[in-house]
Symmetry: C2
Subunit: 473 residues, 2 copies
């Protein structure tokens, strides 16, 4: 299938709120039934009581006895970017590249995606919808072994499915050291039975779920964010816009080829290169007990001020058919951060205000982030030290709220870590001044930059939420 046909299939699926499930009520009924039946217990325990997780020495870090999974290590970050020149923190080190994969199939002429109702120990609500496959490299290098995740073969074995999308994308650079995952969408033409924890949804249904709090998990959101609304090399197909108005129409047009973009791709590369070249982030490994301001105890690792995050332990028990138990550390975050994109019609085309983002876990320096990304503490701070443009998100009367929902970060690593995600459009006309390291981009430009791994996960999460058939308000 050509790229053009794949994109048309994506567009059609995005408009479909009916598919294998007749409507959103049916989707929610299935999901709620799952949520009732599958019961899990997640119990907080001291780090030193975790089964097979121990403090490793030289340098002091937290890891699994097998050497597998991940370690939690200390780093010192030094940078000439942003207001804080240096800080210490624990960070997750999980060097391998995982697969986040969506299996797609046309059912009744509409592309459907196989989603999994999956429990993660850090989720606020236990079950969320994940992509078909979340696999680590050790999973997929032994795809024929007994413990390979279901459906992995469609992603790991060449020729089993047509690859519609396969990109290496960065994870949270503030919490993961250099981590990236392969984001994949592959399509099959034959019947693939859905296991009882899986269901086939249209893209429109997934987008509709994204308008609700905490249903579509982080891994699913990053893959969905990369599915193009259109072809940014091509002019708009106005046939697709029949009956589509308002913000969705503007978003679609912002994705298409246009000569009304504020900046050329060359100028955007120049802006990003300038940021990468001007500002550096030096990361030095440190033992956990050498981190300034951090306490390392049998119970947990936490900051003396109680701010930022802490590393805690959980025992997990799943009372499903195959009873499973395990222990693991999680990063616990207090409160709810805010992640937001400001957008505005400029010259008739919707533009999004992106900000350069430099974090210790970035593999290649500055990335493209959303307008605002901050913790609850920062969001509540007084005006003097509040992040720029925050007022547009806190005071909704300043613009039109196009998206507003609370979403969870990866529940396999983070404990009850939620952010409020918002997209706010300001009226056309007066444009706010653009500070250093900010730039207005169309959606097509953001997608083009994302394809090459330049767009951070917070910004991608917001992109995923665009294009829902229903108005989220």
């Amino acid at each position: 299938m050509s790229s053009a046909r794949a994109r048309l299939s994506f567009s059609r699926s995005c408009r479909a709120l009916s598919g294998v499930f007749a409507d959103m009520d049916a989707v929610m009924a299935w999901f709620s039934a799952k949520d009732r039946r599958d019961r899990f217990t997640v119990r907080r325990v001291p780090l030193t009581a975790l089964d097979r997780w121990i403090y490793l020495q030289d340098p002091l870090r937290l890891g699994h006895r097998s050497g597998k999974f991940f370690t939690i290590e200390g780093i010192r970050a030094r940078t000439d970017f942003g207001p804080v020149p240096s800080w210490d923190q624990p960070i997750i080190n999980q060097p391998e590249v995982g697969i986040l994969g969506l299996l797609a199939r046309e059912i009744g002429g509409v592309l459907h995606f196989l989603m999994q109702a999956k429990m993660e120990p850090g989720n606020v609500n236990v079950l969320q919808l994940s992509p078909t496959v979340q696999a680590t490299r050790s999973n997929y290098s032994r795809v024929h072994g007994g413990h390979a995740p279901r459906y992995l073969e469609y992603f790991a074995e060449p020729g089993r499915a047509r690859v519609l999308l396969d990109q290496l994308q960065p994870e949270q650079g503030a919490r993961f050291l250099y981590k990236r995952n392969r984001n994949m969408v592959v399509q099959v033409d034959h019947d693939v039975p859905a296991h009882e924890d899986f269901c086939w949804l249209t893209l429109g249904q997934i987008k509709s779920l994204l308008a609700r709090d905490n249903i579509v998990n982080m891994d699913a959101r990053t893959v969905v964010s990369l599915i193009p609304m259109s072809d940014p090399d091509e002019s708009p197909d106005y046939g697709l816009l029949d009956g589509v108005g308002g913000f969705r129409r503007d978003a679609y047009l912002s994705f298409c080829r246009s000569d009304r973009e504020r900046h050329s791709m060359d100028a955007i590369m120049t802006w990003l290169t300038e940021g990468k070249a001007r500002h550096a982030m030096q990361v030095t490994p440190l033992p956990l007990d050498g981190l300034r301001g951090w306490q390392v105890t049998d119970d947990a690792i936490f900051h003396e001020t109680g701010l930022y995050f802490s590393v805690i332990g959980v025992d997990v028990e799943a009372r499903t058919r195959e009873a499973t138990r395990w222990s693991q550390p999680l990063l616990h975050h207090q409160g709810e951060g805010l992640v937001g994109f400001l957008c505005q019609r400029q010259g008739g085309t919707l533009h999004f205000l992106a900000r350069g983002s430099l974090e210790p876990g970035n593999r290649d320096g500055m990335q493209i982030g959303p307008t605002v990304a901050c913790s609850e503490v920062a969001a509540r701070a007084n005006r003097v030290c509040a992040p720029r443009f925050l007022e547009h998100f806190l005071d909704a009367s300043r613009g039109m709220v196009r998206y507003d929902a609370v979403q969870s970060e990866e529940g396999g690593r983070f404990h009850h870590f939620c952010n409020r995600y918002m997209i706010v459009e300001i009226p056309p006309g007066q444009e706010p001044p653009v500070p250093e390291h900010y730039i207005w981009l169309t959606l097509g430009q953001l997608w083009r930059m994302a394809r090459h791994g330049h767009v951070n996960i917070e910004a991608r999460n917001l992109l995923a939420c665009l294009g829902a058939e229903e108005n989220p308000q």
Copy 2:
């Protein structure tokens, strides 16, 4: 100036063999006069006799007493890519991002570029043409100091010139650890006097010099490689092709938008992502005297077999107006390697056979390399272990040689390190089988991938040599 106008200016300049210098003879006369007048002595000395360069301890490495410039360190590389699973080697560590910048200006309606006749101690022929500026970050962070390179202000001070191109590009991953430079082209509209070591050349004149051996240096070649022949988003402008036939016409058309490409950009990203995800290169730092197979002596660092490369010392004396002397280590390479692109018209469009390349200094795993890149030893090896497709370059009767010249690698780091660069076209019709990790790309696709830093320096060097007005044969 819009991107479109910039590209048109590039195209016109590329066709101009006449400019400030009336013809190529005048260019060569200027260059030869420089070469006679400016005399340099480069004398081989033991490493321990270098002024202010010493063996530093813990771990053992070679560095400058000031902590500036670069260090030569040891690494062990382990990989599941290619025939050699593990090896040790010295590598250059120079973490800062430098600027390689070309200053452009319209003179008589034609875009000219300010080139510098520059001596580098490792050059086989002392003087070569470099870009306007080769600056390290420490240079350009003190642009107003006494020792800033000439013309640096146009690249380092915002607003001094229009930025036509600004990209972060990787250096040789086999010799530099994670090194990247900013490749820039900026344009001014006012008169900028050329210092006596500088001259204004058209792009056509630079391309013509590229058809000769060892005149245009590595730094100039990488910047020139990024200057687009056209806009790969746009259909061909046949007006530009008046009187242009043969291979140059094919190359131009291969750069433009086309629906006859073998692979979509999505498919190319998939191919690259697959390579990045499947194959890893682990790099562990080691002391120089802990490297298997390497000898570290007062005189030099070399491999026991005499193969690969050695680290030697040189004393440099420049008898120019400002007499200067300095000492430094250089990486000496024996023999002449071969770097080649195979190309073929497929479906009427010229495609180039690229190969995935994974080297220890790559910051983000696999990159896109040329069809063949090998040392003289490998090129002379018998057929059994010769690199694939080598025969097309060694036996010219198998295809049409479109480019064939010897070029030097960076003379500030490498001593007499030359490679033979070749582009060979095979007749349309039968297509050679495509082994794993190879892919056919158009020039427009190669340029698009290069813009995001995915194309290695060997491949970019070959791209620079395309589009010369004269047939290089």
